[in-house]
């Protein structure tokens, strides 16, 4: 969900950045502006639909499936928390409040994942470079380049430690992973000193013909989110 997809390169970098940032801004606004749970759910549904649409453009069915799985997972977690609290006699949250909470969490997660699906690492680096953050941009690139192998090692370490301590002390996976990160960073430094960072034109673009499509959708979303309050069920 955090791998860049070239499928939306028909849109300019600026359009992609504006759209993903606008989604996150709308999510924040929704949290503070919604006067009732129903309105908030309706707004979040609109935003989630837009996010899933973008995910489907970037990753086809896989993007939507991953998003839906996420929604299902958080809904189940929310339901489990509710029932556990209820059974244990704790102050159980109102189930109606759990729904927008879970939806918001998923929407934020999807929103942030879109930042990486729609905007390439090179574009991030170019943007940071323009802001005078060249060293930070390089560090980001090097860190991101190691994420796939780190995830693989996480799976290896989890299997190992789970069996080593008979299912207990799983938190100890942190120790070998931290050490491995240290060793990896040392080797990365070696490779950087030998080969350096590749020079790539950031390919930042401010406008492309198809941007109109993306901006139109964003405007429709923003209007929908704003006007949903005046619909009959909103009051």
């Amino acid at each position: 969900m955090f791998t860049y997809s070239k499928k939306l390169e028909d849109y300019s970098t600026l359009a992609r950045i504006l759209v993903t940032s606008a989604i996150i801004a709308l999510l924040l606004a929704t949290r503070f502006l919604s006067r009732s749970t129903t309105v908030e759910i309706a707004r979040l549904t609109l935003i989630l639909s837009f996010e899933l649409y973008l995910a489907s453009r970037a990753r086809e069915a896989r993007g939507v499936l991953a998003g839906l799985k996420l929604i299902l997972t958080f809904t189940i977690i929310g339901a489990l928390v509710f029932y556990a609290s209820y059974l244990l006699g704790w102050l159980a949250p109102n189930p109606v409040e759990i729904v927008p909470g879970s939806m918001r969490l998923v929407a934020f997660f999807l929103g942030f994942s879109l930042l990486f699906q729609l905007i390439s690492l090179r574009e991030w680096r170019g943007l940071m470079g323009k802001l005078g953050l060249n060293k930070q941009a390089l560090a980001l690139s090097m860190v991101m380049s190691q994420i796939p192998t780190t995830l693989y090692y996480l799976s290896e370490a989890t299997t190992t430690i789970k069996l080593k301590y008979k299912g207990k002390r799983l938190y100890k996976v942190v120790v070998p992973l931290a050490l491995l990160s240290f060793l990896t960073s040392r080797s990365l430094t070696e490779s950087y000193l030998i080969y350096g960072a590749p020079t790539m034109a950031a390919g930042l673009s401010t406008h492309k013909k198809k941007d109109v499509h993306l901006y139109s959708l964003l405007i429709v979303l923003a209007i929908g989110v704003a006007l949903i309050d005046v619909l009959p069920f909103g009051s």
Partner: protein, 477 residues
């Protein structure tokens, strides 16, 4: 082959801060177009020598005496950037040398960095891709390609700056037999391009016929062992090979691990990685599962371990299981080896028996108060197996335990495993372990299916180990 040296090392001494001298007067002269193999024990200084040649010893604050002359220029006179054009380092883990996710982007970005303008960069990029034959990898993510492909792509990257010297630090590590053949073809390509190559490698037998010279790094010095190595290789490779170990008694009624018609796939839409795996292993079984990379060996081990659930079929475990990963450092979690033993015994409610674990540590001649992370790869694997045996673990699953070990260490490790009272399952992509006389069952995993196999043509690990002793054991050429 021209006689002018690409690399000349004169009386090189290197030591790390607060350590003894690792290299003690290394002398070497490598001619243009020569391919040289350097072998030696773990910790003998192979990586240190590679670091000294590439100038990387400086970042480790090493004390360096003597001269390293690369293509006529002493390296201390040049910065790292300039060295890139003279020497290419291809390290143990090729995946660490890519920053851009797409192989093509990374290589082209490097070409732009080296050559400055787009036309020259494009030419160098295309030439490198064609020379090494990696055009098919351009649109692939570097983390999705195999170790062998990543190494080829890295060689293409290195060729962009047109350096005369290529240094490979343990290039066969984590490569399967197919990857080894690919690497040999790569060596031929580099020979065709008249590049000088220096290889530091434990698993040297596949390379013996393909290099011009063989050196052993011993006691901090390089010794030319070319003639001896080739003579010994010819003599030993003609010896009869070993097979299974039928004499080991295994109680076939004491089944500890059983897989029945196991099917597995990662992706809902994808095909099955494993198809109908059947396996029945009893106490005392020492089993080898051979398969090329990507055939599902690690997946099978994780299913046997209970970490992954099969989509169809079932796995029955009738004993405590320990999994020893390929990257053995992931096994250790404590600040001292003593604590490792204590925590493992405590987790099984056997704290009073921790003495058994400490006996293992003593037998391995390891200081129990030292950190497990300072042990060599071989010591780490042996310690993990030793502790598991002391706990009387019923099933021991090992993923590629031989990576990075000398032939001698591999054989010793197998001897240790064969004495275990547990079910031992070893997954490997290297045939050289197949012929050691310690297995009660041999399997091949291919196309998702597990097939029992008989002995197949490969150099026996026993012979390889003997060959290693003969070569590295010599005092002088």
């Amino acid at each position: 082959m021209k006689s002018d040296p690409v690399l000349e090392i004169v009386d090189l001494w290197v030591r790390y801060p607060r350590s003894d001298w690792i290299l003690k007067g290394v002398n070497l002269r490598v001619g243009r177009g020569e391919q040289v193999l350097v072998i030696g024990e773990t910790g003998s200084g192979k990586t240190t020598l590679a670091r000294a040649i590439t100038g990387l010893a400086m970042i480790y604050e090493c004390d360096v005496k003597g001269k390293v002359i690369l293509d006529g220029t002493e390296i201390s006179e040049e910065g790292y950037g300039a060295l890139t054009r003279r020497v290419a380092l291809i390290g143990q883990n090729p995946y660490l040398y890519f920053i851009e996710p797409l192989v093509g982007d990374d290589l082209y970005g490097y070409a732009l960095k080296v050559h400055g303008n787009e036309r020259l960069a494009r030419n160098a990029f295309n030439k490198a891709l064609d020379d090494v034959g990696v055009r098919g990898l351009v649109q692939r993510y570097f983390f999705e390609i195999s170790g062998g492909e990543a190494r080829r792509a890295l060689v293409a990257k290195a060729l962009i700056s047109n350096p005369p010297l290529f240094i490979f630090d343990e290039p066969l590590m984590w490569l399967d037999d197919q990857g080894v053949e690919d690497f040999i073809r790569l060596l031929e390509t580099l020979r065709g391009l008249e590049r000088t190559v220096m290889i530091f490698e434990h698993r040297f037998i596949p390379l013996l016929r393909h290099v011009d010279k063989v050196y052993a790094l011993k006691d901090g010095k390089l010794v030319d062992v070319t003639d001896r190595a080739l003579a010994t290789f010819k003599k030993l490779s003609c010896r009869p090979l070993y097979g299974l170990r039928p004499e080991k008694k295994v109680d076939r009624k004491d089944v500890l691990l059983e897989a029945k018609d196991v099917h597995f796939k990662y992706d809902v839409k994808g095909g099955y990685v494993l198809k109908g795996i059947d396996l029945q292993l009893c106490r005392g079984d020492v089993v080898l599962i051979y398969g090329l990379n990507g055939q599902g060996k690690t997946t099978l081990l994780k299913i046997l371990a209970g970490y992954l659930k099969p989509h169809k079929g079932r796995v029955l475990r009738r004993a405590d299981v320990i999994y020893i990963p390929q990257n053995i450092a992931l096994f250790y979690t404590e600040s001292t080896i003593e604590k490792e033993a204590v925590e493992m015994f405590k987790a099984r409610g056997m704290k009073s028996k921790v003495g058994l674990g400490l006996n293992v540590v003593r037998r391995l001649d390891i200081d129990p108060l030292s950190s497990p992370f300072i042990l060599s790869h071989g010591q780490m694997v042996k310690l993990a197996i030793g502790l598991a045996s002391a706990l009387d673990v019923g099933v021991l699953l090992l993923d590629e335990p031989f990576s990075g070990l000398t032939y001698e260490d591999r054989l010793r490790l197998l001897e240790q495993l064969s004495q275990s009272n547990a079910v031992v399952v070893v997954a490997t992509s290297s045939l050289d372990a197949v012929k050691a006389p310690y297995w009660t069952k041999l399997y091949k995993l291919e196309g998702g299916k597990l097939m029992e196999m008989r002995a197949i043509g490969a150099t026996s690990l026993t012979c390889a180990s003997k060959l290693y002793r003969e070569i590295v054991g010599v005092e002088s050429a």
